[in-house]
Amino acid sequence: MIYRENGQFKSSYRADMALFPVAQDRWAMLALLAVAFVVVPALASDYVFRAVLIPFLILALAAIGLNILVGYCGQISLGTGAFMAVGAYAAYNLQVRIEGMPLLLSLIGGGLAATVCGVLFGIPSLRIRGLYLAVATLAAQFFVDWFTNRVKWVTNDSSSGSVSVNVLSMFGWRFDTPVQKYLLCLALVALFALLAKNLVRGAIGREWMAMRDMDVAASVIGIRPVHAKLTAFAVSSFIVGVAGALWGFVHLGSWEPAAFGIDKSFQLLFMVIIGGLGSIAGSFFGAAFIVLLPLALNYVPHWLGLSLGTAVASQLEHMVFGALIVFFLIVEPHGLAKLWSTARQKLRLWPFPY
């Protein structure tokens, strides 16, 4: 009913290949963007920006990056935290070592450094796959942890190993207030989501998916495994690197290597699995689930007027959170994105299902 497509005729290839072929989807997406760019900045409080929306957007971006690798190309990676760290530290070094470096170029530089690192650690994927590859990328995590902790040059000889960023500015604009930072993140996330969506629909995305579904068959029909796998690693780590730089620069402001520890890698992997493997929208759902749900669970006892001890509340939160993850994966093993597309399908046929 809501999604009825009656009367929507496609008369050109262009229309057939559109990003959102159904008009309702198009309008919904435009409305969502309008809300995110116009309504939210006018309404939300500083707390919501700094503690909820900004981390959500940045982690959604990192999840998009990881989803390209794990969801679209089928290469399991446990080194996401490391690639984020590379992005953050590279961007930091560009910022402190080059006077007047625009923020955007630092971020892109961080992404490029992460690309190089990602491709290097992606090389083993040509020989090994599955769990073995996961362990090989885990090595990236340990190596980068060690590197950022031990090599003084990386932290600009900071005595404590902790670095911090000063002013966020590019081309004469400054990003001081939470709203400005939010809009910066939102613009980048929207841009990268669009790019990623187009990439996975194109020839290269189909190569990745062929690799994921059956690599022997893919190479038989003429897809080069080296090319497909390494481009997936490159694109994925670029996006993850930019997300890492944003996490350090915009969200934390100052950070230590622990901010990009192995926990972060796991967290992101959970995001793409819960959100939905092989889905850009799923990355957003997953990030929302992992970022927002603990906060919501934290507030629920408050709203109900229960005075729980801090420790009890925190343990309870972990328990409920874990139970919900298990529940969602049983109900919908393909993630929240699949749940959404099932709902959409049902709405198309409603009220006359067949």
Binding site: R50, D176, W255, A258, T310, S314
Partner: protein
């Protein structure tokens, strides 16, 4: 029927929410704690102490000059991103947060810049950025009572005393938690090593520090004369056990104040005999404040933790931290009006103008625990005092007299690092 109960429930919840906000006569104190996570053994008594003292002030004095203290805990699990969320959540509560004790060096780094923009004081007694002693650059940071540099200096003084005044030719090892927290003392140690002619070797331990076998094997090979132990949480007992296993004398190990709590050594018992730790001021002592806490809070069944936790080192330290915060509020009220609630900016003034004389401390019940502290615009640490305690297998024994750090090496270092920070961050130092 069922729907009805839900509606009633929601209405009840909403009504408590509507009437919950603090009245005008309450001063809000945010409590960042970690009761879960890898450092929970240290975090729990610390958090209990912080909250207990606020309860005591409310119960005994009816607040600060009649202004009740309101508080809310927020769990950080020692994670910087969670700490930032807590900070954002609590900074504007009530009439504004009366200063944050982030309870973690990492979170301190992450909120320092934000605090500058939000105009909220950051209180970091005994931890945080050592150079933030310099109040001309770090207007909003207060590393009260001592920093890691003063601690390292006092440890060296105590060692020098044992070595008849000279450290020349000695080998001193630093076994540290490999994080900003553990790395803080390194610049000072290197500076003093160059000046006094001893050798420093560094042994980083990967957090959380459960695995230290190789570290202590190396120590056994190199046989340093003393080991300074910058550890936290689970790393401390693990390290002491390894020292015991490798036969390194515990008398020659000096733990930093966070590695010198009862729970760190209790389970090892006799195996930890001789282990030294430094205390910030004299936090191993018992004083009137403990009796009052028992009388006004615990005997009424309103204590935060278990009664046996009162008087342990970590719990006392928590109380000291809250006491400093309360005294900052009191000092600010002297200037901005007694019995009024204060803004975070006004409380900052109180932190900067603390003057805790011996008489005042005695009246507060901290006479044995602390020595006089006076802060100023240029000096945000106040007076650092420390004592060395030693574990005798059953409890901590105070082993040394009062020490104060030697400023000849620390002051230039503070100036140098603060100047670097000011340059990196484009901060123009204030005139004091």
């Amino acid at each position: 029927m069922k729907l009805n109960t839900i509606v009633i429930g929601i209405a009840a919840a909403a009504s408590t929410l509507a009437f919950a906000p603090a009245s005008a006569q309450e001063q809000f104190v945010p409590l960042l704690v970690y009761r879960t996570g890898q450092f929970a053994p240290l975090g729990v008594p610390w958090a209990d102490g912080k909250q207990d003292y606020l309860k005591l002030v409310n119960a005994r004095d009816g607040g600060v000059n009649g202004v009740k203290l309101a508080y809310e805990e927020c769990e950080t699990a020692y994670d910087a991103a969670k700490g930032v969320e807590c900070y954002e959540r609590l900074k504007a509560k009530g009439t504004g947060a009366s200063g944050f004790d982030p309870q973690s060096t990492g979170i301190t780094f992450a909120v320092t810049d934000k605090a500058y923009a939000d105009k909220v004081a950051i209180e970091t007694p005994g931890y945080g950025l050592s150079q933030s002693v310099d109040g001309t650059v770090f207007q909003w940071n207060f590393p009260l009572l001592g920093t890691y540099w003063t601690a390292a200096d006092v440890m060296l003084q105590d060692i020098a005393k044992k070595e008849k005044g000279s450290l020349k030719g000695k080998k001193i090892a630093l076994v540290y938690h490999d994080s900003p927290y553990g790395k803080e003392p390194i610049p000072l140690l290197q500076k003093r090593a160059a000046a006094d002619g001893f050798e420093v070797s560094l042994f980083p331990v990967t957090p959380p520090g459960v695995e230290q076998k190789s570290t202590w094997l190396q120590i056994r090979q190199q046989r340093p004369d003393y080991v300074l132990f910058w550890s936290a949480g689970v790393m401390t007992p693990a390290g002491i056990r390894e020292a015991q296993a490798s036969g390194y004398p515990r008398e020659k190990i000096y733990g930093i104040w966070w590695a010198g709590s009862d729970h760190d050594v209790k389970d090892i018992g006799a195996g930890a005999t001789g282990y030294n730790a430094i205390t910030i001021h004299n936090s191993a002592a018992k004083d009137k404040v403990h009796d009052e806490l028992k009388k006004f809070v615990y005997d009424k069944g309103q204590g935060t933790g278990v009664p046996t936790g009162v008087g342990t080192l970590a719990h006392t330290r928590g109380m000291m931290i809250s006491m400093l915060q309360v005294e900052a509020i009191r000092a600010a009220q002297e200037k901005y009006g007694k019995g009024k609630t204060l803004t975070p900016e006004q409380v900052r003034w109180g932190f900067e103008n603390l003057d805790l004389t011996a008489d005042k401390l005695k009246a507060l019940g901290f006479g044995e625990i602390m020595r006089p502290v006076k802060t100023s615009c240029a000096n945000h640490m106040g007076n650092d005092w420390a004592r060395i305690v030693q574990w005798d297998g059953g409890k901590w024994q105070i082993k040394s007299d009062w020490y104060q750090s030697d400023k000849t090496h620390i002051d230039p270092l503070v100036k140098e690092f603060a100047a670097k920070y000011a340059k990196d961050k484009n901060v123009t130092p204030r005139a004091c």
